[in-house]
């Protein structure tokens, strides 16, 4: 009796024939399922916000110093917005505009430590994303936490400012059910760093322990000491923040909307040793006249501050590079929208440093916006002006949600919107006005196409205006207000009408 035997050669042959026959349909169906999953299931959306990051100081936007090579890498697989404007000129109004999709004259978070007006608290991006999303938020800047804690009912996971940090002496964060009020009353008043403590026993004790512990933190690798939050006792190392973020992103539930508001590169500028002195390069920006509303700082002070800022931005970008590599390797970029932006910019010109200023020039209001769609491999550039208020409706559209009626933004070009050069967009500083009264003292910038009108009211006996053509004069050196009366008149009328409209609800 002959016995048919399966020798090694015929087994391999059979396996080679059978394997694709078995595996291919599985692979195809897996790919189909994955495609369908991406098509049908809501995508994860991750917003990474760098506080006080001016687009004007980023090499990805043409800055001559190589401050952001890793953002440039990220840009190669993202949509890059070249004229994106913040809603305000510091954290409170800038963050509130982003998270409510409204201008400061609507949300009224206009003052230092201010807050979104109570009737608008329910109109926020987290609520609009709804329960089907896991909503995660982290405000490393305590002021951004003021805004986020207002929306705490709509956030599933709210991380504290000290998360991933080396030291946090914030007290209000321990009052989980009343965090907004507790942070304001305790950390922003009784224990606030800028003055002596307002509490005799606990304040003195807290300050002593905090100084003792902060002196123990190793500052190796950081030339000017490790980064910290200004005015609040929170210390961190950038490498910890980004490692923490990587582990956070790795374990995100699907779908998630994550808003990660990082404190750097906000002052104090603490670059790492690797980048310290990197920009002692003899380069100088265009010299600009000192503005009458500025702090009248010398050019030398501004130059030094700019260099420190640039070095800190480069340090931050270096760490972002690590996160970017992680997101590429782990597939986060394949499955998620990743948005990089800022709440406001920073300036080092015209006698003014940083952003606590009524001067709404381009370095303050021009912020980065880069959106990487799932699996995007090529770069796309959008040059028409866009605003922070557009981010909310656009992200909701990406999540398959309708744009809420209360948002003043429009869909961003490239994500359902159109490039509109005739649209007017506003940035506002009104920190010295009363939030629930008509604005008495404010500066407003209105962008329409290539023109930008800046309006100052309440600073002098007469209101004043400046007009610039940003296409021809990006440095805003030539005030066209007296030279272009027709354009000036048209824009002035529109701005004043919008301003009066905003004030109307609060008049008498």
């Amino acid at each position: 009796m002959s016995r048919s035997t399966l020798n090694r050669r015929s087994f391999l042959k059979a396996a080679a024939t059978l394997a694709p026959a078995i595996a291919l349909p599985n692979l195809v169906s897996w790919l189909d399922a994955r495609h369908n999953h991406l098509q049908t299931s809501p995508p994860t959306i991750i917003v990474i916000l760098f506080d006080a990051m001016s687009a004007r100081n980023l090499s990805v936007y043409g800055y001559p110093r190589a401050t952001a090579p890793n953002l440039e890498r990220f840009a190669e697989r993202a949509t890059v917005y070249h004229s994106h404007m913040s809603g305000g000129n510091y954290t409170i109004p800038g963050t509130a505009s982003l998270l409510t999709g409204t201008y400061p004259w609507t949300h009224r978070a206009i003052n230092y430590s201010g807050q979104v007006k109570s009737s608008l608290v329910g109109s926020n991006i987290f609520k609009a994303f709804g329960d089907d999303y896991h909503r995660l938020a982290w405000g490393q800047n305590v002021w951004s936490q003021f805004i986020l804690t207002q929306f705490a009912d709509d956030i599933d996971t709210l991380l504290e400012p000290g998360t991933f940090g080396r030291l946090s002496y914030l007290i209000g964060t321990h009052f989980k059910n009343d965090q907004n009020m507790a942070i304001r009353a305790l950390d922003d008043f009784i224990f606030k760093n800028e003055l002596e403590p307002a509490s005799l026993l606990f304040g003195t004790l807290e300050r002593t322990l905090y100084f003792r512990d902060s002196n123990k933190i190793a500052s190796d690798g950081y030339a000017r000491g490790i980064p910290r939050n200004v005015n609040y006792p929170v210390f961190f190392r950038l490498e910890d923040l980004f490692a923490g973020m990587a582990s956070l992103l790795k374990n995100l539930a699907s779908p998630t909307f994550a808003y990660l508001h990082l404190f750097p590169p906000h002052a104090p500028y603490r670059s790492s040793e690797k980048f310290f002195g990197k920009f002692v390069d003899g380069w100088s920006p265009v010299r600009k006249p000192v503005h009458r509303f500025s702090d009248q700082l010398s050019n030398q002070i501004l130059k030094t501050a700019r260099r420190s800022y640039d070095e800190y931005v480069a340090t931050l970008d270096d760490q972002f590079g690590r996160l970017f590599d992680f997101m590429e390797a782990s597939g986060v970029l394949e499955n998620s929208y990743v948005i990089v932006t800022s709440d406001h910019g920073e300036m080092f010109e015209r006698g003014e440093k940083a952003h606590a200023t009524p001067l709404l020039y381009d370095p303050i209001v021009h912020v980065p916006l880069l959106i990487s769609a799932p699996g995007q491999k090529t770069r796309r550039d959008i040059t028409s002006p866009t605003s922070a208020v557009d981010v909310l409706p656009t992200l909701l559209q990406l999540a398959g949600k309708p744009a809420p009626s209360w948002s003043e933004g429009k869909l961003l070009p490239g994500f359902g919107g159109v490039e509109d050069m005739e649209r007017s967009m506003f940035v506002m500083d009104a920190k010295n006005s009363i939030a629930f009264r008509p604005f008495k003292k404010a500066s407003i910038s209105m962008r329409k196409g290539n023109y930008k009108l800046i309006y100052y009211t309440g600073y002098e006996s007469d209101d004043s205006f400046e007009l610039y053509d940003l296409d021809a004069d990006l440095e805003e050196l030539t005030d066209l207000y007296p030279q272009q009366p027709a354009i000036a008149k048209r824009m002035k009328e529109e701005l004043l009408e919008s301003f009066l409209d905003a004030n109307k609800a609060y008049t008498g």
């Binding site: 201010g114 109570s118 009343d178 009353a185 008043f189 003055l195 002596e196 026993l201 009363i434």
Partner: protein, 177 residues
């Protein structure tokens, strides 16, 4: 003398506590009024009341803890040394102790270097304060002044205690619900 008998009577504790309240509460209240102008730009009356509640609750806790210092000293030392002159010595202890705390606190601002020297001096200052507490009431007019002061300060308790109790309740309710 048994431990229980060494616990001072309410009429002995109250004047000492009143002096603590007289110093601890205004320290925060003055700062509250400084901040009021900036809060007034964006804060509702309800929120101002809530800030005040947190502040008062914290002051209440602080004042109780500070009161523990003379009470503890009283329990440790022989009655003749402290119990028999609880008001005078208690008041002088809290006045001197809080005086140094005020000095320390005033030096803890953002502009000047942290006052480590003053912190290091605390053990020496504590010994000096203790010595002074036992010497100061030998000066003939001092006990009378301290008694007068603490008796007059009692009036603050009629305001601070009810407000503090309400404040503690407000903070508790806000954090429970």
């Amino acid at each position: 003398m048994s431990i229980v008998k060494k616990i001072p009577k309410l009429e002995q504790i109250a004047p000492v506590y009143a002096v603590i309240v007289m110093l601890v509460y205004p320290w925060t209240i003055i700062r509250y009024f400084w901040k009021l102008s900036s809060w007034a730009l964006f804060t509702s009356l309800g929120d101002l009341a809530n800030y005040f509640a947190y502040m008062m609750a914290l002051n209440f806790l602080e004042s109780i803890i500070i009161l523990l210092a003379p009470l503890l000293l009283n329990m440790i030392l022989p009655p003749k040394w402290f119990y028999d002159r609880f008001v005078t010595r208690g008041v002088s202890l809290v006045l001197l102790g809080l005086g140094y705390l005020i000095l320390l606190n005033r030096n803890m601002n953002a502009l000047d270097p942290f006052p480590w020297d003053m912190i290091r001096l605390i053990p020496i200052v504590a010994v000096v304060i203790l010595i002074l507490v036992f010497l100061i009431d030998r000066i003939p007019f001092v006990p009378r002044i301290l008694d007068e002061l603490s008796n007059r300060a009692l009036v603050f308790l009629y305001v601070s205690i009810p407000i503090s109790v309400i404040s503690v309740l407000v903070v508790l309710i806000r954090n429970i619900y």
